[in-house]
Symmetry: none
Subunit: 124 residues, 4 copies
DNA sequence: GTGGTCTAGACCACC
DNA sequence: GTGGTCTAGACCACA
């Protein structure tokens, strides 16, 4: 896997996993890949995965059974969506709106850019 | 001034200054606050302001006259708006759109949230 | 059964069983649940129960008849109480007292909290 | 420094530091020892201190100024006392009371043990 | 100087 | 097998 810079790898892994859960790749309570397994897949150090999993565990998105592995939390998808949504609306949207205003992008134009985005996504 | 974490302070200062210029706080070619002055105001180390100014200088948003000070570039506002706009559309919008889709926020809802934002801003 | 983390599951099971014995759920020398039975009830691996029973056996709180099962020891309740009491006074109380002092909880207040605890317990 | 086993070293360091803050060793907002400094003092790896500090930061007991160091939070002592108190009363006291009942230790006896504890402490 | 991240590798307890 | 902790050491960005 390719990692961007500017955000720690462990956070990118955490984001990636919570996105996967959000998209329903695992059922509620289903076991997710073990630390070592994921570390090999992503070609990172197990410690880095542990850190990512620890982070998700604090957010109560996954939980741990000792000696067995990590599991997607009950209603993990809904919970994540709720948390992320609130976070997004409160923390990121205001700043995004401010930028839109400063740059003179209104909702009409944003809508068109969004259409564009979706078309390009379909094409790929 | 309060600084977020996750973005270097010097970048936050640079963003803040270019926002001010964008909003027309200084005419083209007008002198902007000196390094020391701004450092005192923002309660940061002068080195940090120097770095911020250096960054803005690379973006050709301000320029420096040795021994005199820093000045807003000609057509600084337009230049900034152009740069920032391209940056925003190419680098940040795709990720924002992806998040919107994941969280199930469509343009309608975003429009309403934007209205809200503007109302709250007026009120304050 | 729900297990806390911070203490191994097998220890939590052992504590739970010795508490049951302390409360007189089984007479001296009475047979306690088999490993498999308990494992199913608690939804844990039989190995974990074996470990818990082994631990209790070391403390001479239960004993084993090969091929038959595990039994509460003679005067098990008294024995447990003695062991636990010493353990508690020597190992845990000092730390508890230290915490009480740091938090500014005196014996008066502790007494009231204890009353509360007993009331809530009766109510449930 | 001597570390017990059963609780990770980084948690013991965190507990130790928050105890120090609770006891008023640092004023509100005063700088606490740097990661490296403390690591040398305690003869542990800097990573271990970072982890302890990260833990305290999540609890909002200390905060960080990048490139400068860690600082005791405003009203850190009161905040800690509040958090710890609630934690103690809700999470630990019920279990302690349960044990006291099981072992047949009443408030009178506990009071005497407490006196003992204080005497021994003064003597040392 | 400060903290933060990552890797590598060892060791442990637990299931 | 599982996760968790700790060490050692390198490297980086930031103030």
């Amino acid at each position: 896997m390719q990692f961007k810079q500017g955000l720690p790898i462990y956070r990118q892994i955490a984001d990636h996993m919570s996105e996967q859960i959000l998209l329903g790749h695992w059922e509620d309570g289903e076991r997710i890949p073990s630390v070592r397994e994921l570390a090999v897949n992503l070609e990172v150090n197990p410690n880095t995965v542990i850190r990512a999993y620890g982070y998700l565990q604090e957010e109560e998105v996954i939980y741990n059974k000792r000696g067995i592995g990590y599991f997607a939390a009950e209603q993990a998808a809904d919970k994540i969506r709720g948390i992320k949504r609130k976070e997004f609306v409160v923390l990121r949207l205001p700043e995004i709106f401010k930028t839109l205003e400063l740059l003179g992008i209104d909702m009409d134009e944003l809508g068109k850019l969004f259409q564009n985005y979706k078309l390009r996504k379909e094409a790929s």
